[in-house]
Symmetry: C2
Subunit: 428 residues, 2 copies
C-alpha cells in the first residue's frame, strides 16, 4: 500500500489509505481518542476507540504508520478525518520532550529553542521561516538564471582573506596556514574575467567577528552576484532592485500563508528605490536627528535614515551610495579622491547588501592596495586576473539569514539559520 | 545603445548593433582584418580595414566594445558578420599571454592550466565542462524538488567529524578547536527528524586526505539527500536511479553540444541498474579475475567489477550492496551481524555514490558507536535526535566533480573543479 501525504487526502474521501507521520496532539474523550497526525505537508485528525488506543503506547511525537478510512467530518484541520483501522509504531519517543511544541507559539527562549533544534523545527511557525527562506533562495536563483547568470561553486579554504582585516578563521591545511573565505569576492571577479561574464553563488561565508549581536552570524549563507560589461555601478543597483521585486512577487505567490502565519507583512516597492549619497545621509542625520557621524553609518544611523526615507518617500528600502574610500575594501572602484562607486541597500533599518563597481585596471588596483596598506605580493593570483583583459564589472552580496529575518520582522538572525554558529555556539 | 549578445545577432541582420567581448582571434589579410569576438554566448567574425586596425592597439584577449552593422556573409562561425564602424577598448592586455587559448585544444599540462585558470576557462572546451556540471546540478535540484525534497544549508564548521577517522581539517574557532564538516550527514538526518522528511544539500565537504590522487579533492561539492519513511534501503537506490535517468535526459536535452564538443558519450540505462552483493562481487573478482580482496573494493576491483557488469548486463552502472559492517560508519543500519543495508554506486569503473539506510533507534545507535570504538558522549546533540521520534530513513551523497569527470570521460577530477584544493594546491 502506497503512503498518501496529508495534503493529498482530500482526493481520497471514502477510501482506505496509508498515512505516516508524527503524533502532534492527543485528545481523549469518553469513548474515542483524537490523534492529530503531522507529516511534512500538513495536519490531519484521526480517530480511534479508547480501547484501541489503550492497547498501544502512543505519546506525543511518536512516529506512526496508520491504515484507515478517510471520511467526511468537520474539524479545525480539514473537512475530513481518518478512522483508524490499524496502527504501527515506526519510532517511539523514549524520553520526556524537553520543550512543548504542540502549542500555538513556541514559548521558549532562543538558546533552548536552538539547543532543541530538531524538536523546535517541528513547530509550524519555526518551520515556516525556512519555507520563506527557500522561496527567497529560489527567487534569487531563477531570477539570475533568467538574466544570463551562471551558478558557480568557489573555494572556501583560501590562502588570503578578500575583505582585509583580521576577522578570519584559521584552518590548518596540511603544513600550511589557510583561512575560511570571508566572501567569494576574488573568485567571482575571476569568473567574470574567465569569460562567464555573469556569475552567482549561494554559499557559506565566514567572519571571525568577536562581537555577538543579533544581526551577525560567524557562518552565514551569502547570495553573491558579479556581472561584467556594466556601464556603471547603477547597473548593479538596478539588478538588485529587479531581484527584490521578483522576490517579493514570489513570496506573495508562493509564501503568503507562511508570511501570514508569522504575522509579517511584505514591503511594497511602488516606484524606484530611493538613492541617497552617503554624505547627504550624514548631513540628514546631523540636521534632522542631531546625530554626528563620520566615516560610516552605525546601526542607529541606519535606522534613522530608514525612518526618514519611509516618511519622505514611503519606501522600506533605500540605497546609500558613494561610501568613503577609506571604509571600502581595496577592490572598490574609487569615485574621485574621497568616494567610491559603491552602495549599501538598507531595508527596514538594517543593511542587507553591500555592493558596487570593482577596479578592473591592474595598475589602479595595485595603487589602491598600497593606499590600503596591503602588500600586492600576497595577491598574485588575484592580480593576474587584471593583466589579460577583464571588462568593467561590479557585484553585490546579500546575507540570506539577515534578509529572511528582516522580511519576517524577526529580531534575531539566529532564528533564520537552521544551525547557527556564533561567538559561543558551535553545536548542534 | 543596448548591447546585443552574439547569440542574438541573427535577429539583427542589416541593423547597427553594439557588441562587447574579448578578441579571440585576429587574422590580417591584404586590406582588411578579421577580428573574432567572443562573449559568453558565442563567437562572431567582425571585419575592419587594416587602416582602422592600425590606429588601434588590439591584441588577443583585449576586451572591446564595437558598433557595427550585421551583414550576411559566410564564415566558419555564423552565416553573418559584423562590419565594424567604431571600436572602444574596455580593458587592455598588459602582459604576454602565458598560455595560448585560441587553439582547438588547450595544450598545456594540468598545473599550468589551473595556475592560469582565468585564461584557461575562456577556452571553449574548458568552459563546456562547467556548462555540463551546471546541468547536473540543476537536474539534481529540480528532480528532488519534484519529489518533495527541501533544500537546506547546514554548518560546515562542526564540533565533531561525522565520518570518523582523523581526516578532518582543524579550524581555530575562537577559543575552541572545531573541524570542517566531512559531510552534512548528522545535519541531514536531523532535518529528517525535524519533520522536513526529505532534504537535500549541494554544498562543500572537506576531507583532509593525505594522498593526492586523480579522483580525490580535499574540498569538493557534495550533492546529498536524505529521506524519511523509507521501507528499506532499496528506496534510496530507487531514487538515485530515477535521478540518474533524469540527469541523463537533461544532459541530452540541454547539454548535447557540450558533450559532443568534449568527445564524450552519455551512458544509456536500458533496464534497471544491476545490483550485486558485496560478497558476490568479491567472489566474482576471485573466480573471474584471480583477484583476492576482503573488506573493501580497491580501485582495481571497482574497475574489474564494472567491466564484468558491462559485459554481462551491458550497463555502465552497478549498485554494490551490503558492504561489511566494519567498513561502514557508525550510523549505517546493520543487516545481520556482518553486513549493512548500504550500497555504493559504481559508474564506468569508479564509485560515485555512497548511500544506505541509517540507524534510527537510539539504543542501536549507541551500541553501534561502542562497536566502532566511539564515545557516545561526543555526539550528544546528534544522539538527541533519536529520542523523540524519527522515522526510518536513509540517504546518499554524490561527489559533483567526480560525477562530472566520469560522465565526460576526464581522467582527473581537478578538471571539473573551478578552483580545486588538493594536497599541495591552495591557490588560485
Amino acid at each position: 500500500m502506497k503512503r498518501v501525504l496529508v495534503e493529498q487526502l482530500k482526493n481520497h474521501i471514502d477510501e482506505e489509505v496509508l498515512i505516516k507521520g508524527w503524533v502532534a496532539r492527543i485528545r481523549k474523550l469518553k469513548s474515542v481518542t483524537f490523534l492529530i497526525i503531522r507529516d511534512r505537508t500538513g495536519l490531519v485528525q484521526c480517530i480511534a476507540t479508547n480501547e484501541f488506543m489503550e492497547a498501544r503506547s502512543i505519546k506525543l511525537e511518536t512516529v506512526v504508520s496508520i491504515i484507515g478510512s478517510v471520511v467526511e467530518g468537520n474539524n479545525s484541520y480539514n473537512p475530513f478525518e481518518v478512522q483508524i483501522k490499524s496502527m504501527e509504531i515506526l519510532s517511539q519517543v523514549t524520553e520526556e520532550l524537553p520543550i512543548e511544541i504542540n502549542k500555538k507559539d513556541l514559548e521558549v527562549n532562543l538558546d533552548v529553542m536552538l539547543n532543541n533544534r530538531v524538536l523546535s523545527l517541528r513547530h509550524e511557525k519555526k518551520n515556516a521561516i525556512f519555507k520563506v527562506q527557500n522561496i527567497i533562495v529560489e527567487a534569487f536563483r531563477e531570477f539570475l538564471k533568467g538574466e544570463g547568470f551562471t551558478e558557480i561553486f568557489t573555494p572556501k579554504i583560501v590562502a588570503e582573506g578578500a575583505e582585509g582585516g583580521s576577522e578570519v578563521f584559521l584552518v590548518k591545511y596540511f603544513e600550511e596556514n589557510a583561512y575560511l573565505a570571508q566572501s567569494p569576492q576574488f573568485y567571482k571577479q575571476m569568473m567574470v574575467g574567465a569569460g562567464f561574464e555573469r556569475v552567482f553563488e549561494i554559499g557559506h561565508a565566514y567572519r571571525a567577528e568577536e562581537h555577538n549581536t543579533n544581526r551577525h552570524l560567524n557562518e552565514y549563507v551569502s547570495m553573491d552576484l558579479e556581472m561584467g560589461f556594466i556601464d556603471g555601478f547603477e547597473d548593479i543597483m538596478d539588478i538588485e532592485e529587479k531581484f527584490i521585486k521578483h522576490m517579493l512577487l514570489s513570496l506573495d505567490e508562493r509564501g503568503a500563508k507562511y508570511i501570514e502565519l508569522l504575522g509579517a507583512s511584505l514591503p511594497v516597492i511602488e516606484n524606484k528605490i530611493p538613492k541617497i549619497k552617503f554624505n547627504d545621509a550624514i548631513n540628514i542625520l546631523n540636521t534632522m536627528y542631531k546625530k554626528t557621524l563620520s566615516g560610516d553609518l552605525d546601526p542607529e544611523g541606519e535606522r534613522l535614515i530608514c525612518s526618514y526615507v519611509k516618511e519622505k518617500y514611503n519606501s522600506d528600502f533605500v540605497f546609500i551610495t558613494h561610501y568613503p574610500r577609506e571604509k571600502r575594501p581595496m577592490y572598490t572602484m574609487p569615485s574621485g579622491e574621497e568616494e567610491t562607486k559603491s552602495f549599501d541597500l538598507l531595508f527596514r533599518g538594517i543593511e542587507i547588501t553591500t555592493g558596487g563597481q570593482r577596479i578592473h585596471d591592474y595598475n589602479m588596483l595595485i595603487n589602491n592596495m598600497l593606499y590600503k596598506g596591503l602588500n600586492p605580493n600576497n595577491y598574485e593570483y588575484y592580480l593576474n586576473t587584471f593583466k589579460y583583459g577583464i571588462p568593467p564589472h561590479g557585484g553585490l552580496a546579500i546575507g540570506l539569514e539577515r534578509l529572511t529575518a528582516m522580511i519576517l520582522g524577526l529580531s534575531n538572525v539566529r532564528e533564520t539559520s537552521l544551525f547557527p554558529r556564533d561567538r559561543t555556539r558551535l553545536q548542534p
